[in-house]
């Protein structure tokens, strides 16, 4: 299941940059020797300044394992140390180091089947997007449902792609906007609650594997809701980005 061998730091070169939202970008990386990854895994990413100072953060791989490249989506964190560089300064040709792929507990393969329930807070959508892209690449019909919490449509990652994937790949996607829903919006608004999770389903009797990712307070809140709704805690996989979200 997991690649053998010690985890090593590899040089990553930015091949391409895609602006996802005003505050988030996807970096497409060339990593010689990359061993491949499972959907949901992440990399540790390390920047080195000219005087040797280093800073390291973890970023989820947003590309599918089938994609053949390593993509990470980075969202700007106010007063962050690493994200402002990656979102505002870095350009194709720039280099840093990555270590990975990391994480087996928070990963999924179509071989495991469904149903799966994916709940994302902000940039927590990145690893779940890897799972959905993987599912689409393998033309899987596994029951998969996604609930995303975003501040506003401007902050919504991959919205166009998800809109297109929904009918094509037999996926259910629901959004809730916590600050500013789109004009005329008839969908969910505000913080994720029990009603939204029930509406997105499936219920605990279907024993779905649940993947929840985002800032720590979001993850704790959603995980508690899922447990309260009767989901088996051992089927709930959580990845907490910490207080600021990564």
């Amino acid at each position: 299941m997991t690649p053998r061998g010690p985890l090593v730091w590899r040089t990553a070169t930015i091949g391409a940059v895609k602006e996802e939202t005003p505050h988030a970008r996807t970096l497409s990386l060339e990593v010689p020797g990359w061993p491949g990854h499972r959907a949901g895994q992440h990399v540790d990413l390390r920047l080195t300044a000219e005087d040797g100072y280093q800073a390291q953060r973890s970023y989820s791989i947003s590309s599918a394992p089938e994609a053949g490249s390593v993509e990470v989506t980075v969202e700007l964190v106010d007063d962050g140390e690493v994200s402002p560089y990656l979102v505002e300064d870095a350009r194709p040709g720039d280099q840093f180091e990555v270590r990975g792929p990391i994480g087996g507990h928070f990963s999924w393969s179509v071989d495991e089947g469904g149903p799966v329930v994916l709940v994302a807070g902000g940039s927590g959508l990145a690893p779940l997007m890897s799972m959905l892209r993987h599912r689409a690449a393998r033309a899987s019909q596994a029951d998969a449902r996604l609930l995303v919490s975003a501040r506003s449509p401007r902050d919504a990652l991959y919205r166009d792609e998800l809109e297109e994937l929904e009918p094509r790949a037999g996926l259910l996607v629901a959004w809730t906007f916590t600050r500013e829903p789109p004009p005329g919006w008839l969908g969910f608004a505000g913080r994720v609650d029990a009603e939204m999770l029930t509406a997105v389903g499936p219920g605990p009797q279907a024993r779905p594997r649940c993947f929840v990712c985002g800032p720590t307070p979001f993850v704790e809140h959603v995980a508690n809701l899922l447990v309260d709704a009767g989901h088996d805690p051992h089927l709930i996989h959580a990845e907490r980005f910490g207080p600021t979200g990564g």
Binding site: G100, H105, P217, H237, E239
Partner: protein, 91 residues
């Protein structure tokens, strides 16, 4: 006010330096409450080093001293690990 913790997934790279196997799926039986949880599900606190705590009872599970050239690791509880062997590992 929410605590500033992450989880075992967030320190998986560090744990991978220590174990020969992917660490987040390792199942740990807590010495205090007896509950069984994957290391990836443990709460990770960041002080001078890293502390993993049982998600059920909050007691200390792993303590990691993080230094430039060394990690000092103290494991508590019982770990059950499954480690893939190389093709030529033999009997």
């Amino acid at each position: 006010m929410t605590d500033m913790h992450t989880d075992g997934n967030g320190v998986a790279g560090l744990l991978a330096e220590v174990l020969a196997t992917e660490a987040t799926v390792v199942r740990r039986t807590c010495q205090s409450c007896g509950d069984v949880q994957a290391l990836g599900a443990h709460r990770a606190y960041h002080g001078a080093g890293v502390v993993l705590r049982c998600p059920s009872c909050g007691d200390v599970a792993v303590r990691i001293g993080v230094h430039a050239h060394r990690l000092t690791v103290e494991w508590r509880g019982t770990l059950l690990m499954e480690v893939e062997r190389a093709e030529d590992a033999g009997a």
